[in-house]
Amino acid sequence: MLNPISLAFKKAKAEKRPALLTYTVAGDSSKKQSLDILKSISKNADILEVGVPHNTPVADGSQIQTSAYRAIKKGIKLNDIFKIVRDFKKFNKSKPIILMGYYNMIFQYGDNNFLNKCKTSGVNGLIVVDLPWPENKDFAKKCKKKSIYFIQLLSPTTTSKRLKKIIKNSHPMNYFISMLSTTGGKLKVSPREILKNYNRIKKINPKKEIVIGFGITEKTIGKLKSADGLVVGSAICKEITRSLNSRQNPVTNVGKLVKKIKNKIK
């Protein structure tokens, strides 16, 4: 059976649009609410990235940090996150879920233990921010055995030689970081420039799905439509924070935001 992640790309392609990937932090602002948010955005998002909050994140901007601290403060644990995924999959079995986090949490859980738990909970892919290639070779192999995609990150600083090696060793989906920034930074390069880099990567192996993330908002997403997929994360975390601060319901607000974003790429 094809990984639901690949199916989601197929479906989006059939509709002649990029796949929409969302990122929210598990447990933000509570376990239940983060599950409700996933349910609410799943109507419009094609792939759900679920952030595993960590308290020394070296690549996250302030929006995601705020969400992560909120979740950690409420006491979220890895096992709770697996339960959120499991509960979501009961609600929508085919919607792909990618866990995104930092390696120490996986390391403490034990690579094999973690992957077994991913498999039984219904996780379809993994992004580990601080486990780059080639350090991730063994881990990526273990993922493959479980039919879980290990998603490689590519950056504007990745050299051509390195790009080729990473792509050659990669699973069907990879993630291109649009610019030199932490998550949620203001887009400091033009969408044209981003797409130029994207196409350079795409050419290496057109069969691999490449999504673009970092700095993508309601305003910028329309200009990047030619990509295989686009990730919106910080903008959603920001909306959760805004909703909480103004005592509104994050679940409905985030649902509306994702719908609006989806309309921009249809």
């Binding site: 960590h54 308290n55 020394t56 690549a59 390391f107 403490q108 601080d130 950056s155 600083t157 920034s181």
Partner: protein, 414 residues
């Protein structure tokens, strides 16, 4: 796990940067892979380049001021009545602490790589102060990340950084101390690595930063070795080197040149921050058996919970207030080359009182931890044992804390 002889410890890591196959490495976001590789290539080339070494030595001698004094603490020796007690007064160095060595080398490297801006983290404020001094000296713009809690408790160093023209950026996330400052500094580098060089303030972070820092602070033991031979005609038969350990930059530098001696002749004792006596929190991952984890790009023993969240630390000394520890020290611990123990806040304060009572020396709270253990152990040691404590920082920056904890006279009289 084995320590190799005749190979510098900083160069004993494997091809992926792991010491002993498991400490260190490069757990970094993809964006930093290239800048780190560039820095590695540059550093590996320059550390063999005679011209570069001469340049470094010239600045160490004329600007940092080398050698720093190596003095006998006669009064303390008489008072304790055991081993001979000596101190290497590294706080003589320009700026008042060992952090100047690493800062100088990073600025020299930044100049060579054509970067115009340098960013760095700081806990006690020394790493930041020294980086701001070196940046000014070498004409680089400087940004310092510092936890908001540390900004409040280490004001003299904050003022110095600003006076040197550095921008001090307060970090409000997490515990608002060094661990968060390092995270924020790394995040800044992720977003600005095309124009900016990063200086990690200790022997922590991705492998190349561990190596650069260890290479820089080794100046301390190069000087000490010559001074010991000058004083005793040879390296003493029983030598014990005490040093506080936070990230581990001063202790590594204090020990490096003596690595190949048998530990029965030259023993290394690292003293971590045990935190307040009544608190469960500490900054002593080696002493209290913390598990291996990944922090700031490197595998190391680190205070963390079962889920892998990094735990908050507590210590009176901002410079030791870090949940992790250099991969180099993890390696020295597991190969049993060095011995590690901890001193509490109260013990460090008592040592500060004792040292300042008997000697014209004013160690900051960080080396006061090492003084406590050294003085306690010296009592039981023979007269022909030479105990040397690295007084790696000056207490000027701790005025506020010392006044609060010990009263005005300990600030004024010194």
């Amino acid at each position: 796990m084995k320590l190799k002889k005749k190979v510098p410890v900083i160069d004993q890591g494997n091809s992926l940067g792991f010491w002993g196959g498991k400490f260190g490495g490069n757990f970094v976001p993809e964006t930093l892979k290239k800048p780190i590789e560039d820095l590695e290539v540059l550093f590996n080339k320059l550390k063999k380049d005679k011209k570069f070494i001469n340049e470094r030595d010239k600045y160490f001698k004329n600007w940092v001021g080398s050698p720093t004094r190596f003095i006998k603490l006669e009064n303390l020796t008489n008072h304790i009545g055991g081993a001979q007690i000596w101190s290497k007064v590294v706080s003589d160095a320009n700026g008042g602490a060992h952090k100047i060595y690493n800062a100088t080398v990073h600025c020299l490297l930044a100049k060579r790589s054509g970067k115009k801006i340098i960013c760095g983290d700081t806990g006690a404020g020394y790493a930041g102060k020294m980086l701001s001094m070196a940046a000014k000296k070498f004409g680089l713009k400087c940004k310092i990340f510092m936890g908001a809690k540390d900004i409040a408790r280490q004001q003299p160093n904050v003022k110095a950084m600003k006076k040197n023209g550095a921008e001090v950026i307060p970090v409000y996330s997490g515990s608002q101390t060094l661990v968060d400052a390092v995270s924020e500094c790394m995040r800044f580098w992720v977003a600005n690595c095309d124009t900016t060089a990063m200086c990690v303030g200790s022997t922590v972070g991705p492998a190349v930063f561990v190596r650069i820092c260890g290479w820089s602070t080794s100046q301390i033991s190069r000087e000490l070795k010559a001074q010991l031979i000058d004083e005793f005609g040879a390296i003493p038969k029983k030598l014990k080197l005490y040093n506080c350990v936070g990230g581990g930059s001063s202790s590594f530098g204090f020990w490096n040149e003596f690595m190949d001696y048998d530990k029965r002749q030259v023993e290394f004792i690292g003293v971590e921050a045990g935190g307040p006596k009544k608190s469960k929190k500490h900054a002593a991952p080696l002493t209290y058996g913390s598990k291996i984890g990944i922090l700031h790009g490197a595998a190391q023993y680190v205070n963390q919970n079962s889920d892998g969240q990094i735990e908050e630390t507590e210590s009176i000394s901002a410079g030791l207030d870090y949940p992790g520890i250099s991969p180099l020290h993890c390696f020295l611990k597991d190969t049993k080359r060095a011995r590690y123990t901890a001193a509490s806040d109260e013990e460090a304060l008592s040592a500060y009182k004792l040292v300042t009572k008997f000697e014209d020396l004013r160690p900051s709270l960080e080396p006061s931890h090492a003084f406590f253990v050294a003085l306690k152990e010296a009592k039981k040691l023979s007269k022909n044992t030479v105990v040397v404590i690295n007084s790696c920082g000056d207490a000027y920056k701790d005025r506020g804390i010392l006044e609060e904890r010990l009263g005005k006279k300990y600030v004024k009289s010194n």
